[in-house]
Subunit: 406 residues, 2 copies
């Protein structure tokens, strides 16, 4: 048996991220800060005890955490290493990637072209990677074409009926319906979206899972989730084999909110997980909407609470939601203009290299190889091509990105 | 038959206002500007052609109208005089006052102590006078203890049921329920308030009528309106004998809004008179609230519209409405502090005189007699008492109000 230390040596960026996603819980802020400061490959080496974090790295991590407002005992690198240690022996990223491939799935990393731009709004709390099944090869729809429909598991006939109308109306307008794959409102949303079918190149629905995509949870939704994996898309940030925990449910909610321009709470009790999704959406400056209902229905109390507090816009049909989502096909402001142009004619290696190139500072080819997950030879060849294309420039042996026509 | 010209000569302030309220439609801005500039007594003389408006008065009226943003052909004094002329012969204010007295009612004017402070927020568009039946002799409740419940005439079972709960809950909290006496939501609100009964010195309900209080409109609500006149209060700004017109309904809505700190729309179609009341309330910086309902109910579409536009707060029970209305007994900011203290121990004549006394300028006793509607003798005696109480001071033969301890 090869040890994880031997295996890690050969891990590229993608495989490192796969391993990190098993090692670290979603939004583990120390882990995120470590990845931010040394990149995924060294972060994995440090996190698994293969190399020791230098004092500079420890300082960087502490600084990032302080900037994020995360200062607690739990948030020191030393504590985090103890937390990660028990999982180190179980890391088998190649096996996880192979498992996904057997299921017809794959892994996406922030370095991939398919990575949803919308997730950048999560800052350093964006997922280490995404495990996906189904969906178009061109990535998830841009967020202005995605709307989250969320709500109670114990939905009423009213909630089910409204959810069905809204989901069908959204898909008819070319908008993808995102939800959590749970019973109740979630299931109604996915079902209505699937039965309305895809429009153009938009997939009808995405279910964001709180557990690994090798299992269907909840079991009662197995058929539905399988269909979503075929005609829509399943997404998780935890690797295959991961069980759903309360923490992962809450973090899953942040993904739903981040992937969509509008989060609609169709039915929710006074305290409800759907409100957690709504709060994530508000934190991300996404539109939050709520569907009104009878004041006598406990299942609408959470919606009315959002409306009363001014945290949500009142919506009553798909047209109103589509209006909140903005014109179809319009990408949001944070999508860098001209990025598509930058990429034209570049091969995958060059794209990875381009993403790895710093804009404000500069990096050596050795450093770039680590960040981009490419060999030194590939990096040097790629830098030559990028320089010719006017996308990279060398300053005293160090490289940085150059804006075209800029 | 005495002509109106002969009769007018003897009219005091109260009788002048009674006559003006028949001559001028509610919110007749030229009329309001005329009253503002020369006072009710001379305004009536000018409006009835008994005296001619001086060029100074015409200028004042034009200036006031311009300040109000009311500039149109219809808004010149000359046009207004033509508009009022046909009604001049029918004026019989003493008869109108006698009619109200026969019905157990009375007339209130802005000079009266009972005049609702809340109406001052209407500016020069405050009613010329109010015709009232029933209610406490101490005036209407301060607005923080009044909430308007308004909505569709063709209310649903849901709307009726919610209205009943809200009205009962408000009255139980010592809050008076104000509405328009119409079918549907209005009638439900009044009925539930009446059946809950009064709390302490608060009357349970007020119906603001768009027609004279000598008739019950709509006829189907006759029994209800009669009971309101006995156990609650009926209010109109038009004199007995006036029929309800579309204009008067819309203006009646502004009174409902002005009298209450919160206007709640319980059920309303996309276009509904209740929304008109809500807009008046918003214009007056009053709280506007809406009750949510099924998205499938056309009778909730107007409420959802207000919520969606952010024009109303979502409320689902009486407690939430009471919270919007503010602590019980707390008067609003525009009620002059210390006014109650000023009044302590003063008789009615002195109160009228005190209200007539200018604060920033000063006035002769002749002028004060006209404004306060008192005889010269009464004015001189009253001024002496007010001076002793430290509430009035004389400056070169002219009188002005003095702030106690100020």
């Amino acid at each position: 048996m090869t040890t994880i230390r031997q295996e890690t040596k050969a891990l590229d960026l993608r495989t490192s991220r796969a391993a990190l996603s098993r090692l670290m819980e979603p939004s583990d802020m120390v882990g995120m800060a470590l990845i931010e400061s040394v990149g995924p490959i060294d972060a994995l080496r440090i996190a698994t005890g293969q190399i020791k974090a230098g004092s500079r790295t420890s300082q960087d991590v502490a600084m990032i955490l302080e900037a994020q407002g995360t200062i607690s005992k739990r948030s020191s690198l030393g504590e985090a290493l103890k937390r990660w240690a028990p999982r180190t022996a179980d890391l088998a990223p190649d096996r996880d990637i192979a498992t996904m491939q057997r299921l017809g799935g794959r892994i996406w990393t922030p370095e991939d072209n398919e990575w949803p731009e919308a997730l950048l709004d999560l800052g350093i709390a964006q997922p280490i990677c995404l495990w996906v099944r189904g969906g178009p090869s061109s990535g998830v729809p841009v967020e202005s074409r995605s709307v989250a429909l969320v709500g109670s598991r114990d939905s009423t006939n009213y909630g089910n009926s409204v959810t069905g109308d809204l989901a069908a109306g959204l898909v008819q307008r070319g908008i993808c319906v995102v939800s959590g794959g749970a019973y109740g409102i979630d299931a109604q949303a996915h079902r209505a979206a699937l039965s309305t079918g895809a429009t153009g190149d938009v997939i009808p629905t995405i279910a964001v899972s709180a557990c690994g995509l090798d299992r269907y949870y909840p079991a009662g939704n197995e058929d539905l989730l399988r269909t979503i994996g075929q005609q829509g898309m399943l997404i998780a940030e935890v690797p295959p084999g991961s069980s759903p925990t309360r923490w992962r449910f809450l973090q899953r909610n942040r993904l739903i909110a981040a992937l969509c321009s509008v989060t609609v709470v169709v039915e929710a009790r006074w305290r409800s997980g759907a409100l957690n999704t709504a709060h994530h959406a508000a934190d991300l400056s996404r539109e939050v909407a709520a569907v009104p209902g009878s004041v006598h229905s406990a299942n609408s109390a959470g919606c009315h609470r959002l409306l009363r507090e001014g945290s949500a816009v009142c919506v009553t049909d798909a047209a109103e939601i589509a209006e909140l989502a903005g014109p179809i096909g319009q990408s949001l402001a944070h999508e860098p203009a001209g990025r598509a142009a930058d990429h034209d004619g570049l091969n995958l290696e060059d794209l990875l290299l381009l993403d790895a190139l710093p804009v404000k500072s500069s990096a050596t080819s050795e450093k770039l190889a680590g960040v981009a997950g490419l060999s030194q030879t590939a990096v040097l060849a790629g830098l030559g091509r990028l320089q010719l294309a006017g996308l990279a420039e060398s300053i005293g042996g160090s490289w940085r990105r150059r804006k075209p026509h800029g």
